[in-house]
Symmetry: C2
Subunit: 394 residues, 2 copies
Amino acid sequence: MINPEAYALGSCRSEIRELYECGLRMKAELGAENVFDYSIGNPTTDPPEEFTSAALRILRDTPPAELHGYTSAPGCAELRAALSDYINRRYGEETVPGNFYVTVGASAALTVAIGAVCTTGEEVVVIAPFFPEYRVFIENAGGRVVVAPTREPEFQPDIEALAAAISPRCAAVIINSPNNPSGAVYTEESLRALTSLLRRKSYEYGKTIYLISDEPYRELVYDGATVPYVPSLYDDTIVCYSYSKSLSLPGERIGYVMVSPRTRGCDAICDAVAGAARRAGYVCAPSFMQKVLTETLGIYSDISVYDENRRVLLEALTSYGYTVTPPHGAFYLFVKSPEPDAHAFSERAKKHGLLLVPSDSFGVPGYVRLAYCKRTEEVLRSLPKFRELMESYK
Amino acid sequence: MINPEAYALGSCRSEIRELYECGLRMKAELGAENVFDYSIGNPTTDPPEEFTSAALRILRDTPPAELHGYTSAPGCAELRAALSDYINRRYGEETVPGNFYVTVGASAALTVAIGAVCTTGEEVVVIAPFFPEYRVFIENAGGRVVVAPTREPEFQPDIEALAAAISPRCAAVIINSPNNPSGAVYTEESLRALTSLLRRKSYEYGKTIYLISDEPYRELVYDGATVPYVPSLYDDTIVCYSYSKSLSLPGERIGYVMVSPRTRGCDAICDAVAGAARRAGYVCAPSFMQKVLTETLGIYSDISVYDENRRVLLEALTSYGYTVTPPHGAFYLFVKSPEPDAHAFSERAKKHGLLLVPSDSFGVPGYVRLAYCKRTEEVLRSLPKFRELMESYK
C-alpha cells in the first residue's frame, strides 16, 4: 500500500543528515558554542555583492508576472545563450544554447543526465570515494552501481581498477573533481589516462560509454590548482554543474546539464535529458534565479575563508598526529581515522563535541569527512577538541 | 545507448507546448497583434503587492548565506509550521508541520505523492478530462493509467464509470477540482458520492485506496462557488498544492504535499513522500521563496481579470453559436468543437489566428481548451476571430 523503496529511502536518512540532526540535539543540550558541526556542506561565505544587488534590481524593475512566469523547460533563452557564450569564451569551446539544460540544482542535473543515458539493467561506474546520493540517482534510473577504488592517499583514479570495473553493460562513468569528500582535484594526467581507457572500452564493446562529470566544486581550488576542462579530453562528456557552492546558493537549486557539442548523437541526448526531466516532474528551474544568474555569470563567491580554514586545519591536525592528504579543492578534509572503524571514531569524536562523517557511505572505509565551510573563528575554537580526541587514543 | 523512454518523452513535446511554440512562429510571421494564444496557462495577473514587498524586504534584510542556504528536505520549519497553522485555521483541521512536505511546484508534488503510494504494476485512476502530464508521472512510478469518464457537459465525476474503473490493483484516484481543462468545480454532492465509493472499494478489496487531490486552482473560483475541503470527506487523502496560479508564480516552482493527519499510516506515507522526493533528486524547494511564502500565507493574486475574461468569452462565444458549459473555477474554458475532430477544428482556428488546444490529450474528444489568463483587452480583440471561425462552418 506504500511504495517500499520510497519508504526505505525516506525513513532512513543519509548518514550526513543523521549526523546533522544529532548535532542540533547536542547543541540544544550542551550549548551551541560547545558543538562543532563539520557534517554538512552548507556554505557560510556570502554570495558576491553583485549577485544580491542584481537580485534586488531585477525584483524591483521587472514586471512581476513576467519575472515569475514559466520559462521554457530547458531554461530561459537568455540564460542558455549567456551560458553558451561564457563556456565558449572560458574554454575556447563551441557550444550552442541547445547544449544546455538548466536544472533545479546539481542533484536534478545528475538525475536527468543519468536518466538520459542509462537504461534498466545497465551499470554506472562511480569512483570511490563518491557522493553517496549517486547510488540513489543511479538506482532510480534502473541502473546498477559499480564502485571502482582509487589510489590512496591521493585519491586519483586507479586506471587498472577502473578498467576492471567497466563491463560491456557499462552505460557511463561518473567523476567528481574537485572531489567530495576527498578534496582531490584530478590531474590532467589522471584524466588523460581515464579518458583513453573510456575510448578503448567504448571501441572494445562497440558502444558509447558516457563520461558524466559532476563539477559543483569547479571554482573551489587552492594552491594554484587547475581543473582541466573535461569535454576537451573526451567527446562523449556530459557536465553537471551547480551554483550551490560557487555562488553560495545551495537552497536556491540552480545548475545545469551541458551535453558536449562533440558527443555522438548530441541532439538526441539533449532530448533524452529533457525527457528525463519531464518524467521526474521538473517543469523549469526557478525563474527569478535564472534571471539573476543571466546577469552575474562568471562572478563567484570569495573562497579565501575556505582556503584559510583548510590551512589552519591541515597544519593543526597534522601536528596533533592525524594523517591528512592536503586537499586542493572543494571544502572538505578527508582525515584518516586513528582506529580502523571510522564509525567508532566518529562516535568518540561526538563526545568531544566534534561531528565528523564516517567515510563508509562514500565507498571507502577508515576515514572521516570534515566540511570546513565554516567561520574561521569556529574552526580555531575546535582545534583543542581535535587535540583531545587524538590524545584519547594514546 | 540512450534511454528510449526518456528520449521519447523529450523528443515529443506535449501538445500544449507544441501549440505554444507554433504561436511564437505565427507571431513572428503575422505580427504579435494578429495571433491570440489561448494555449498555455501562464498567469498574466501580478502576484499581490504584499508578496513583492516581502520579497524585497527579505532579500535586503536577511544575511545572504542564511537566506540562500539549504533548508531541510521537507521545507524550512517556519514555513511548515505556518502552513499547518493556516490550514488548521481555515478548515478547522488538526495537522502538524510533519504533515507537510514543501515541493518544487505541483508537478513535483504529484510525482512524489504518486511515487509514495503507487508500486510497480498498480493502477492509478484519473478522471477525464485530466492534465495530460498525470500519465507521465504515473508511468514514472511504474503505475498504469486507468481513465474514468465524466458526465458531460458538467464534467462532474460519473460514479458508476468510476466504480468500473477501480480494480483490486488500484493504488489511488487523482481528482483535480477546480478542473484543468474543464473549469468544473466538483460539488460536495459529487465528492461525497466519490468518497463513499472509495470507502466501499477499499473495504471490498481489503486495502487503502488513496485519494490524491490536485488543487493548484483551489483559490480560483467564481460565481460564489466553493471548493469543499477534501480531507474532511475522506481520511486517506493526500493534497497536492501549488502557488503557481494563486500567487502567479508558476516559474518559481513552489507548492506542497499535505498528507491528511487521518490517513492510515500517515507517518509512513510522509516518509515515503520524502523518499520519493529523494529518489527523484529533489533536495529542497527554493529557499528564498520558502521564506517569502512564510510571511505571505493566505494572501492571493487578484483574480477579477480572469472572472471578467470568463464572462466576456462565455457570453460572446455562446452568442456566436458555440456550446460552452459555464466554468466555475480555474482559468480555462472548455468549448465543444463544431466538428467531431477537435484537431481539425484547432487547425482551422489557427488560420484565424486563434491557438486552441484540442482536448484529445486530456482524455476527452471533441473539445478545445482556452486558457483565458490573459489581458481583457486581448480577449476583446480576439472575439471577431471567434465569430469568423464559427461562420466558416455555416
